[in-house]
C-alpha cells in the first residue's frame, strides 16, 4: 500500500564499495580484505545494478551520491570512469549534485584525485581517526598523520576546495588508552588542515570486532564513557570557537562565509557568497536524517524509497551472482535486494523523529512534520515530547523539536521513545 508522494522528491544514492586493504580493528561494516580479484566483476555488477534501478527510477532527479565502504579509493580511476558514465546515463543528476567519495589517506595520489574531481566527485571524506601513531596502530589503520597532511594537500590541489562541496575528515574519540590531551592534540592538528567538515565519532565496541574482544579479554581497558563525554564537550567548544557549526550529533561544518577564519588567500573565496547556505553540511547524510528517499546500490547497501526499507545481499560474490542471474524487481529493488520491510505510516513517523532529532540545529520541524503526516507533533507524540522536555533532554516549541545540549549525549534516551 504505497502512499503517493506529494511531490517527486530528489533522490540520493549510496554506493557500497566493500573492499579494504585490511579490516580496521573497530570496524563492523560490510567490507572485505583480500577480495581484490572480485573488484572488476563487482564493478560490472554494480554498473548493471545502476542501469536496472536507474531505469525503474524513471528520471527522478538525484541530488547526492555517496561512495562508501569499505575503501572506495581502492577502485582504480578507470573503473570510476565506467561507473560515472553509467550513472550519468541511468540517472538525472542535478547540476549541483553532491558526490562524496570516502578515501583512506595513503591510498590516493594527485592524478587519482584530479581524475575523480574531473568525473564530478565534489566532496572527499578522509578517514583520519587519530593523529597519534600509537592510536592508529591500535585501530589497525595503515596510514600516518603525515599521509593525511599530504592527502589533504593533494585534494586541495585537485580542486576539493571551498568551491566544491569540500573536504571532510573523520576522527574517532573515546578509544582505549586515549587521554584528553591526546584528543585535544589530534583535534588541533586536524583543524590546522582547515577541513570544511568534521565528523567526530565516539568509539563503540561493536560485536565481532577485534577491539571488542581485546577489551573483553582484558587486553585493553574498557573505554571510559565519562571521559568520552568530556572529550565531546571539549571538542564542541573548540570547533565552535573555530567557526564550525554543529548540525548533527557527530557532525560539524563551516558556514559558507568562512573567509574571515581562513588563513589562505584563496581567489575563490569571494565567490563563496554565491553558494547555497549549508553548502558544506553533508547533503547526502542530511537525506538520511530528514528521512528522505535514497537508493542503496552495491553489496550490503541499504535503501529507503517508495515506502520500503531494504538492503542488498552482503557478500560481494553473492551480489555479483545475483546481478548476473537474478530477477529484476519493482522499484526500488534490484536483483540484489534480500531484505525488504514495508514502512507503515507509524514507522515512517517514528523514524522521522529518531533520525530528525539527530539534527542538533534543525531537529524535526513542526510545520514539515504536519505537512508530511497530516498530524501535528503534539497530536502524534505530545505525551512523549512533554515527558522528554520535562527531563531536560528535548526542546519543543512552535518551530519544532530538537535535542538540548544535555540531550545530545543522551540521545538514545530520546530516540528510543520513538521506536
Amino acid at each position: 500500500m504505497g502512499r503517493p508522494e506529494s511531490q517527486p522528491q530528489n533522490l540520493s544514492i549510496y554506493i557500497a564499495i566493500p573492499f579494504c586493504q585490511v579490516r580496521c580493528a573497530y570496524c563492523d561494516f560490510n567490507t572485505f580484505a583480500g577480495l581484490d580479484d572480485l573488484m572488476a566483476p563487482y564493478a560490472r555488477a554494480l554498473a548493471r545494478e545502476i542501469r536496472l534501478v536507474g531505469e525503474a527510477a524513471a528520471g527522478r532527479p538525484v541530488h547526492t551520491i555517496f561512495f562508501g565502504g569499505g575503501t572506495p579509493s581502492l577502485l582504480p580511476l578507470l573503473v570510476y570512469q565506467d561507473i560515472f558514465a553509467v550513472l550519468r546515463g541511468a540517472f538525472a543528476l542535478t547540476t549541483d549534485c553532491e558526490i562524496t567519495l570516502e578515501a583512506n589517506p595513503g591510498t590516493v595520489d594527485a592524478a587519482y584525485l584530479l581524475g575523480l574531481r574531473a568525473l564530478g566527485v565534489s566532496r572527499l571524506s578522509f578517514g583520519v581517526q587519530s593523529t597519534h601513531a600509537s592510536e592508529l596502530r591500535l585501530l589497525d589503520r595503515l596510514h600516518s598523520f603525515e599521509d593525511v597532511r599530504q592527502a589533504v594537500a593533494l585534494a586541495r590541489a585537485a580542486g576539493f576546495d571551498r568551491a566544491s562541496h569540500g573536504l571532510n575528515l573523520d576522527l574517532i574519540f573515546g578509544t582505549p588508552h586515549q587521554t584528553l590531551a591526546m584528543w585535544q592534540a589530534s583535534l588541533l592538528r586536524v583543524l590546522a588542515l582547515e577541513p570544511e567538515h568534521l565528523s567526530l565519532y565516539a568509539l563503540s565496541l561493536e560485536h565481532g570486532t577485534p577491539l571488542r574482544s581485546w577489551v573483553q579479554r582484558g587486553l585493553l581497558p574498557m573505554p571510559d564513557a565519562d571521559l568520552a563525554a568530556e572529550m565531546y564537550g571539549w571538542a564542541g567548544e573548540l570547533l565552535a570557537a573555530h567557526g564550525y557549526g554543529q548540525y548533527e550529533i557527530s557532525n560539524w561544518a563551516l558556514p559558507e562565509k568562512a573567509e574571515g577564519r581562513s588563513r589562505r588567500s584563496d581567489p575563490q573565496v569571494s565567490d563563496l557568497r554565491l553558494l547555497a547556505p549549508g553548502r558544506y553540511q553533508c547533503r547526502h547524510n542530511l537525506q538520511y536524517w530528514r528521512n528522505r528517499p535514497y537508493l542503496g546500490l552495491g553489496a550490503g547497501a541499504h535503501g529507503c524509497a517508495a515506502g520500503w526499507r531494504y538492503s542488498n545481499v552482503l557478500a560481494p560474490g553473492a551480489y555479483i551472482a545475483r546481478l548476473e542471474h537474478g530477477v529484476v524487481g519493482e522499484f526500488p529493488f534490484s536483483p540484489a535486494a534480500v531484505e525488504r520491510t514495508r514502512q507503515t505510516r507509524a514507522d515512517e513517523m517514528g523514524e522521522t523523529m529518531l533520525l530528525g532529532l539527530r539534527l542538533t540545529a534543525e531537529g524535526v520541524g513542526g510545520a514539515d512534520f504536519e505537512a508530511r503526516f497530516g498530524a501535528t507533533l503534539a497530536a502524534a507524540y505530545g505525551r512523549r515530547l512533554r515527558h522528554l522536555r520535562g527531563l531536560g533532554l528535548l526542546a519543543w516549541d512552535e518551530a519544532g523539536a530538537r535535542l538540548t545540549p544535555a540531550g545530545r549525549l543522551l540521545g538514545n534516551r530520546v530516540f528510543r521513545e520513538f521506536v
Binding site: 557500497a16 561494516f29 565519562d226 538520511y288 550490503g300 535503501g303 527531563l391 543522551l410 534516551r413 521506536v419
Partner: protein, 600 residues
C-alpha cells in the same frame, strides 16, 4: 458396599520420594486406569504441579480391587499435598482415612517431612504401612533405610516392604497389605449425616465440587445439604465418586469417599475441614478440627503494565475460585501504582500463584518482597494488624510490635549441625531441642521469626547442606520484638515498596546491604541518584548511583536504520521492565533485592 470391604488410605512421603508414582502404579494395577492411556502422574492434574514435582491439591480416587481372598474391595486413595505450606490440608486429608502408606526413598532415607507426616498420621490415629521405594536405583540402601524406619516406628525391619513404584515391584504385595492391615471404616449409616470436606475444586458448570469422606449417615441426591461452619445450604447437583473421572452414584454412605457438586460459586463458601450435613436433619455437632486457612505470607502483586490491572484482578478472582487460602485486596503503592496485597499460606504457595498468573493468564507481574503479618499495639491501646512494612505507623505512636514465630524442624546429617546452627542464629532463631531418630542424623528443632524464614532461608539451608537437610515448619506464636521500619529513599523520596520491618539491632547491616545492592541494580540515569536507608529516625546508609554522561549512537552508517532501531528497541524493552518512581527508573529486580542480600 458394606463398610467391611472399604479401605480409605493415603500416601504420605517427603517431597520427591515417589508418592505420585506409587499412586499411578496402584491405579494401573487395579485397572482403574489402563496402562497405556495415562499421562504420567494422574493425580496431579495441574501442569505446574507436574513440573514442580509436587502435589498441590489433594485428590481422591476409588479403585476396585479383588484381593487374594477372592473378595472385592473398594479402595479409596486420598492423595495429600506434598508441601509444608499445605499442612492443614494434609491434616484434613489424613482425617478422612484409616490408614497411611508411608513412602521412604531407599536412596534418601527418612527426611523432615517423612517425620512430620508420620507424626501427623499417628496423631490422626492411622494405621501406618511403611514401604521403601526406588529399590531399583543403584544407590538404593533398602536394608539401612528399613532399619531407620524400624527404629522410628518400633518393630521389625523385615516387615518393611521394599518396592519400586516405577517398575511395579512389590506393589501387588502392598495392595494385599492394605486390605489386611488397614482397618475398614467405622460409621453409623443411620446416624445424622456428617461428611468431612477434605478438598474442593471449582467447576464452571457444577460449581464447587466438595471432596468428602462420609463419617456417618448418608447423603443423597434430592436432600438439601448444609455446611456447618459457613452455614451455607444448597441442593446437590451431583453426588459421585472419582474413578478417577467424576462418576455419579447419587449417594454416599458412611465410610465412603466421593464428591458432592454443590453448585456454590466460591470455594470460600465450602472450606476444607468443614462438615457437610443434611439441612432437614442436621448433625448436632460438626466434626472436630476445622480451621479457617490463614495466610501467613503477604506480598504486593502489581501488573508491570498498569493497563493490566483489571486483567490481574480477574485472574486472581479465578484463582481464588479454586484456592480458599489465597486472599487479596486492592493496594496502592506510590512506587508501583495499583495492585493487590495478597496473602499466601507460605512462600511456596506464593511462587505457585505468581507462576500461574504469568503462565495461565499471560500477565507480567511484579511482586514485592514478601512480608509477614505484624501485630502492632499502639499507644492509644488499639491493636493493628500490619502486613505491609510501608503501613507501619510512626515509632512515636507504637507501644509494641509482635511478629509471628515459627517452630521449625530440620532433619539433617549430623555433619551440617554447625552450619545450620549458625544460619538459624544469624536469623534470630533459637534452639529448642535435638533428637536422633536415625543413626548419623539429627532432628533439630528451633523457633525462628517467620520474617526470617521467608527470605531465602530454604535456599540457604539447601546450599549449606548440599541439599541433604529437609525442613518442616508450623506456626508457633506471636512474640514481641524490638522491630523498626527500615525505609529506603531513592532520590530523597521514600519508596514504599522497598520498606522493610527489621530488628533494631540489624537495621544498620541490612540498611547497608540493601543500599549497596540497590546501587548495583539501579542503572545510571541522567542525574546522580542518592540512595539512602533510614531507620529509627536517622539515615543509616547512603550511596550514589552516578549520573550517566553518555548514551548515544555515534553514527548510522550508510543509511542502515534497522540496526540502530534494533538497538533502541532493545533498550526500550529494558526500560519496560522498569518502574518510574518519581523521575527515577527502577528495575523490577530492585523490588526483590531484599531477597538477595545473602547471608555473607
Amino acid at each position: 458396599m458394606d463398610t467391611a470391604h472399604i479401605r480409605n488410605f493415603c500416601i504420605i512421603a517427603h517431597i520427591d520420594h515417589g508418592k505420585s508414582t506409587l499412586a499411578d502404579r496402584l491405579l494401573h494395577l487395579t485397572g482403574t486406569v489402563p496402562d497405556r492411556d495415562t499421562t504420567e502422574q494422574i493425580l496431579d492434574s495441574m501442569d505446574l504441579e507436574r513440573e514442580k514435582g509436587v502435589t498441590i491439591k489433594a485428590s481422591a480416587v476409588r479403585m476396585s480391587y479383588t484381593a487374594a481372598d477372592g473378595q472385592q474391595y473398594e479402595m479409596n486413595l486420598i492423595d495429600t499435598p506434598g508441601h509444608v505450606d499445605f499442612g492443614y490440608e494434609v491434616s484434613r486429608a489424613l482425617a478422612a482415612c484409616e490408614g497411611a502408606v508411608l513412602v521412604v526413598d531407599a536412596t534418601q532415607g527418612i527426611e523432615a517431612q517423612t517425620l512430620a507426616n508420620l507424626y501427623l498420621a499417628l496423631g490422626a490415629g492411622l494405621e501406618v504401612l511403611p514401604v521403601i521405594n526406588k529399590i531399583d536405583l543403584p544407590s538404593a540402601d533398602p536394608v539401612g533405610v528399613a532399619q531407620e524406619i524400624a527404629n522410628l516406628l518400633g518393630g521389625d525391619a523385615q516387615a518393611v516392604l521394599p518396592i519400586s513404584a516405577k517398575e511395579g515391584t512389590g506393589v501387588p504385595a502392598l495392595l494385599e497389605r492394605i486390605v489386611e492391615h488397614i482397618p475398614p471404616p467405622k460409621g453409623d449409616s443411620s446416624a445424622p449425616a456428617r461428611a468431612l470436606i477434605f478438598d474442593s475444586h471449582y467447576d464452571p458448570y457444577k460449581g464447587v465440587i466438595a471432596y468428602v469422606r462420609v463419617v456417618s449417615g448418608q447423603i443423597r441426591m434430592g436432600a438439601r445439604f448444609k455446611l456447618m461452619a459457613t452455614g451455607v445450604q444448597g441442593e446437590p447437583l451431583e453426588i459421585g465418586v472419582f474413578t478417577p473421572g467424576m462418576t455419579p452414584t447419587g449417594e454416599l454412605s458412611a465410610g465412603e469417599v466421593g464428591y458432592v457438586a454443590t453448585g456454590l460459586k466460591t470455594v470460600q463458601q465450602c472450606r476444607v475441614g468443614d462438615t457437610l450435613t443434611l439441612a432437614a436433619n442436621p448433625a448436632p455437632e460438626p466434626l472436630p478440627g476445622y480451621q479457617k486457612a490463614k495466610p501467613m505470607v503477604f506480598a504486593g502483586l502489581y501488573p508491570v503494565d498498569g493497563e493490566d490491572y483489571a486483567n490481574l484482578k480477574e485472574a486472581l478472582d479465578k484463582l481464588q475460585l479454586n484456592d480458599a487460602s489465597l486472599t487479596f485486596e486492592p493496594e496502592t503503592s506510590q512506587a508501583l501504582n495499583f495492585g493487590f496485597r495478597c496473602g499466601f499460606l507460605g512462600l511456596f504457595h506464593m511462587d505457585i500463584v505468581q507462576e500461574r498468573l504469568e503462565r495461565e493468564y499471560d500477565l507480567d507481574i511484579l511482586a514485592t518482597a514478601p512480608s509477614v503479618e505484624y501485630e502492632v499495639l499502639l499507644t492509644s491501646g488499639e491493636t493493628r494488624l500490619i502486613d505491609s512494612p510501608a503501613d507501619l505507623p510512626d515509632e512515636s505512636v507504637i507501644e509494641a510490635v509482635r511478629e509471628p514465630w515459627m517452630r521449625i524442624q530440620i532433619f539433617t546429617p549430623e555433619t551440617y549441625y554447625g552450619t545450620i546452627m549458625e544460619l538459624v542464629t544469624r536469623r534470630r532463631g533459637a534452639f529448642v531441642e535435638q533428637e536422633y531418630p536415625a543413626p548419623g542424623r539429627v532432628l533439630l528443632t528451633y523457633d525462628i521469626p517467620l520474617a526470617e524464614l521467608i527470605v531465602d532461608f530454604y535456599d540457604q539451608l539447601k546450599s549449606r547442606t548440599r541439599g541433604y537437610a529437609s525442613l518442616d515448619y508450623q506456626f508457633h506464636s506471636y512474640r514481641q520484638e524490638d522491630l523498626i521500619k527500615l525505609q529506603i529513599l531513592i532520590n530523597e523520596e521514600p519508596v514504599d515498596a522497598l520498606a522493610m520491618i527489621v530488628h533494631r539491632a540489624e537495621a544498620y547491616a541490612k540498611g547497608q546491604a540493601l543500599v549497596s545492592k540497590l546501587k548495583e541494580l539501579i542503572p545510571s540515569q541522567q542525574f546522580t541518584i542518592p540512595i539512602q536507608a533510614a531507620g529509627g529516625g536517622r539515615i543509616i546508609s547512603r550511596a550514589n548511583v552516578r549520573a550517566l554522561k553518555k548514551d548515544v549512537l555515534a553514527k548510522c552508517y550508510g543509511g542502515d536504520i534497522s540496526r540502530k532501531k534494533k538497538l533502541l528497541e532493545k533498550q526500550k524493552r529494558g526500560k519496560r521492565r522498569m518502574k518510574m518512581v518519581g523521575a527515577v527508573e527502577i528495575p523490577q529486580e530492585a523490588f526483590m533485592a531484599v531477597l538477595r542480600l545473602g547471608d555473607d
